[in-house]
């Protein structure tokens, strides 16, 4: 479903974020991308979303080179990928409800669908009573849960989560991981970037380990060793 082919990303002047990275993710897989801060996890996600262009190499999504997609049709491609960003990326001028609804709106969902689905997702992430609060009025964990709700609501083909539990307490962390597993069991491909040893070791899923921009391990039911 997703194939990275010799991807290299060098930021000027000469900072190597990713070097000759190649791997493939099959439909319905649950893959963990692990590595220390600065290992290249976020860059990898940025490239998958085509937020940035690689210095070399290609990325295929459902057999199609994503860098050959015309700009006009980029929005349709991105709608297939739900992303939980590390820095949340919430729209500050919109409240929690509107932030979540926005993801449905861009896909052309009607009002009735939005009114039906948004409260359900809000309940799922435990934010029913914060629906009309703005991001500035939320705690880090609440912002993260809003970002999760926004990524989930569109039922994406691939769900990419960049450190989604970084700001959550253990209780919520467990909930979110269980939620991701549940979504995965329904057929959604999950890519989870994390450096949380407990999550990695408890999940027993495929683990791709990055170090200084290179893949040093790619194993089924892997564990975080450092």
């Amino acid at each position: 479903m997703i194939r990275f082919e010799n991807i290299t990303k060098i930021y000027p002047p000469n900072i190597v974020a990713l070097e000759d990275v190649s791997f493939e993710i099959k439909k319905g897989e649950f893959v963990l991308i692990v590595g220390r801060s600065g290992a290249g996890k976020t860059t990898l996600i940025k490239l998958l979303l085509r937020e940035e262009e690689p210095t070399g190499g290609r990325i295929f999504f459902e057999g199609k080179d994503i860098f050959s997609i015309p700009r006009k049709r980029l929005s349709s491609y991105r709608q297939k990928i739900g992303v939980i960003f590390q820095d949340y990326k919430l729209l500050s001028a919109k409240n929690v409800y509107e932030n979540i609804a926005y993801a449905m709106e861009v896909m052309g969902a009607c009002e009735a669908e939005i009114k039906r689905d948004v409260p359900k997702v809000l309940e799922l992430v435990g934010l029913e009573d914060k629906a009309y609060n703005f991001p500035a009025e939320l705690s880090g964990g609440e912002k993260q849960r809003t970002a999760i709700a926004r990524a989930l609501i569109v039922r994406p083909e691939v769900l990419v989560a960049d450190e989604p539990t970084g700001n959550l307490d253990p209780y919520h962390t467990k909930d979110i991981i269980e939620l991701l597993q549940k979504i995965n069991s329904l057929g959604t491909t999950i890519i989870l970037a994390t450096h949380d040893r407990d999550i990695v070791n408890s999940l027993k899923k495929r683990v791709i380990t990055l170090e200084k921009g290179k893949i040093i391990r790619d194993e089924e039911k892997g564990e975080l060793l450092f």
């Binding site: 929005s75 001028a93 861009v106």
Partner: protein, 302 residues
């Protein structure tokens, strides 16, 4: 089709309400720009009025010999009327000149008495010529220099008036050119200031634009609310400017009349109110929407 449009409009209004300071600042700058443009419009109308008033007062008289043959007089009149440069030709017979003189000096018995002393009519028949522009008199008068008209033409008072006419011509064309240059310069300043304000406002929203794009919004879905916000700012700014101009024209009318020798700014405002408002509305919306479209372009490339 209509749902996205409805959402875009609704988000435009919501964003406008939720970021009042930013929008008040934009409206303020737009009001300044629109005021500048409208003032230039008023200024040019004032100048045009004053220039026309001055030009109205300029004419050249061609005095004819008393015994000038009638057909020659007719031919001169015809020749002058046919010239493109001539706006009006008026024939004043010697009797009419005398009557006019008497009428003008009816309260001055000494002058009237001196007329009686002379005994005969001291005036000559003449043509009063008014050119379309003060610069055209010299060209018009070349017609009278033809040999065949020498028997009819006694003198032309152009030489006496020439320095004054040329001076007025220079001043009026200078005023026109100055007005035009000022319009271009200040217009450019207004456009740049407005563009820069909106550019900064959009730059402020660049993070939000990037998020919208990453969530999968199309360019028009991102751009739409900004355009709606631009339209709201433009409409409000033009209403405010129109109202300010109403007050300005109302209160400054007496002073402007005195300054320009009759240009009634409030009457001008009254007769041009609709076109002025349409101009301000169009310019307000156009300036803000266009600035918005240009400024947002580079942030959509994500």
């Amino acid at each position: 089709m209509f749902t996205p449009l409805k959402r875009i409009i609704s988000y435009g209004f919501k964003n406008f309400k939720r970021q009042p300071t930013l929008h008040i600042a934009t409206i303020f700058i737009l009001v300044i720009s629109l005021s500048l443009f409208s003032s230039l419009l008023l200024f040019r109308s004032g100048i045009n009025y004053t220039v026309a008033e001055i030009q109205k007062k300029i004419d050249v008289s061609v005095y004819l010999k008393k015994d000038a043959p009638q057909e020659l007089v007719e031919e001169i009149k015809k020749g002058l009327t046919e010239l493109d440069e001539v706006e009006k030709v008026e024939y004043v017979s010697e009797e009419e000149a005398l009557e006019e003189f008497k009428e003008r000096h009816k309260d001055d018995p000494l002058i009237l008495e001196s007329l009686q002393v002379i005994g005969e009519n001291p005036f000559y028949p003449s043509f009063n010529i008014k050119a379309r522009s003060p610069g055209q008199y010299a060209a018009i008068l070349t017609l009278l220099e033809r040999d065949k008209f020498k028997d009819a033409v006694l003198k032309v008072d152009y030489a006496k008036k020439q320095p004054l006419i040329e001076k007025i011509f220079k001043i009026t064309s200078g005023l026109n050119l100055g007005g035009l240059l000022l319009t271009i310069f200040l217009g450019l300043v207004a456009v740049l200031v407005t563009f820069n304000t909106i550019r900064i406002a959009i730059k402020d929203a660049s993070q939000e634009i990037a998020i919208m794009k990453l969530v999968g919004a199309s360019n028009w879905y991102v751009r739409g609310p900004f355009i709606v916000q631009g339209v709201i700012c433009g409409v409000l700014a033009s209403i405010i400017t129109f109202f300010l101009f109403f007050l300005l024209c109302y209160f400054s009318a007496p002073k402007i009349v005195a300054l320009t020798g009759g240009f009634n700014i409030f009457a001008w405002f009254g007769s041009h109110a609709l076109s002025l408002f349409v101009f301000q509305l169009g310019l307000g919306i156009g300036l803000s929407v266009l600035s918005c479209l240009i400024a947002i372009r580079k942030y959509l490339n994500i």
